[in-house]
Amino acid sequence: MRTSEIDKKTIYSYLEQVQDPEVPALNVIDMGIVRDVFLHDDGSLEIIITPTYSGCPAMDVISMNIRILLSTIGFKKIKITQVLSPAWTTDWMSEEGKRKLHNYGIAPPNPKQQVCSEKLFAPNEAVQCPHCDSWHTHRVSEFGSTPCKSLYVCDDCKEPFDYFKCH
């Protein structure tokens, strides 16, 4: 495949096939992990990615999956560059991604940064239950099954659920 026939938009549409291994409802574009794509003159392709959290074990798998996918499509020279600044924020998650999260049973991040304040014993964020849509919920644990989530329970339908916390 000649890269001259390819534009950035096409690459992005390919990358939509790469899912987050920890949250398989989302792909790397939904997550805001892919920051840029460069088609260099020598025909090589460079993908700029950023981790959600420093220790997120998914990043290595994501890099590998991006490489495998693009190789399968026919790209020969692929470079994946990880950048840390500006630091990833849930504000970069797409609206489509938030909708998918909700349908998957994970409460999407609230739009405003609330959790990262230094204030102690801050009241829980109001989070909507992804199962019954009640706002009558409370936080069980600030930390959850992955670095990006905290654990909530719904006081109406009694179901526990993950909340993708603001970051």
């Binding site: 959290y53 420093s54 220790g55 997120c56 840390l84 600044s85 500006p86 630091a87 990262c116 644990s141």
Partner: protein, 266 residues
């Protein structure tokens, strides 16, 4: 950059990495042993953040070591240095972490206090490091600060909960202060590589962080009904590779696989 400056910078990065790695490893020892499930998850999440930060620093140090022509012997003589060789193949004297982070977990109060004393230091450190003229260090600091903000808040709340809790929890955190306070001065006593990197605006003058740190710790101790500790004899040397006996035991566990089965991979 001349060889000596590069050497100082590499030592400084390894110091930042080792602090995060060793505390991350200590916290990981709680995995499956936390007092309740939610706090077991919390302390291991913090562990994961710290080990992730350590990886970022180690990767940067490895790049500088490989690019330099310095006769550095990090991780044996197997050619190229990587984040793994730096973590798994250096011996005790080559580790530059402070003594505080290698202290044993003890009970929950001691683990909490260790985290609080360190997170409050790391919070102000990374806050300043964001302004480093070294772009990579500034980027790692910017990324890590968001995580440390969580760690500081979580550990502050627990210090208050324990100090202002029952007589039992109060006694236990007092005991933790007695065991750990002797390692706090070292945080603010610059090692040679810290002074040298700070003088060229790459590193941070840690002595300048002390007023903010003291103010923060005092604020939380007052809220927790804990007394401000008096002057005690201070232990130092970790940042220069002179460690307490505990680090050797940590490395024996952390490095076992790579020592027993060199270059093995998952």
């Amino acid at each position: 950059m001349d060889n000596q400056s590069t050497n100082q910078l590499i030592n400084y990065i390894l110091h930042l990495a080792d602090d995060a790695l060793i505390l991350g490893h200590r916290n990981s020892e709680w995995c499956g042993h936390g007092p309740v499930l939610e706090q077991d998850i919390a302390i291991t999440n913090i562990s994961l953040d710290l080990i992730g930060q350590a990886r970022n620093f180690f990767q940067y140090a490895a790049r500088l070591i490989n690019e330099s022509s310095l006769p550095l012997s990090f991780g044996g003589d197997r050619g190229e240095v990587s984040e793994d060789t730096l973590a798994y193949l250096r011996d005790v004297r080559q580790f530059r972490n402070c003594l505080l982070v290698e202290q044993p977990n003890g009970d929950w109060a001691k683990t909490i206090l260790r985290q609080f004393l360190f997170s409050s230091y790391q919070f102000y450190l990374y806050d300043q490091l964001r302004n480093s003229n070294d772009e990579t260090l500034a980027a790692i600091a910017e990324k890590s600060l968001k995580e440390v903000t969580y760690h500081l808040r979580w550990s502050s709340e627990w210090v208050i909960r324990l100090g202002d809790g029952t007589s039992e929890s109060h006694e236990r955190i007092l005991d933790a202060i007695n065991q750990l306070w002797m390692y706090t001065d070292e945080l603010f006593a610059p090692a040679n590589y810290e002074s040298r990197t700070a003088s060229v605006k790459t590193g941070i003058d840690v002595a300048l962080l002390r007023p903010n740190w003291e103010e923060k710790v005092k604020e939380i101790f007052v809220e927790a009904t804990l007394p401000w500790p008096g002057a005690v004899f201070q232990q130092m040397g970790g940042k220069e590779g002179k460690h307490t006996e505990h680090l050797g035991y940590i490395l024996a566990e952390l490095q076992f696989m790579q020592r027993a089965y060199p270059a093995s991979e998952w």
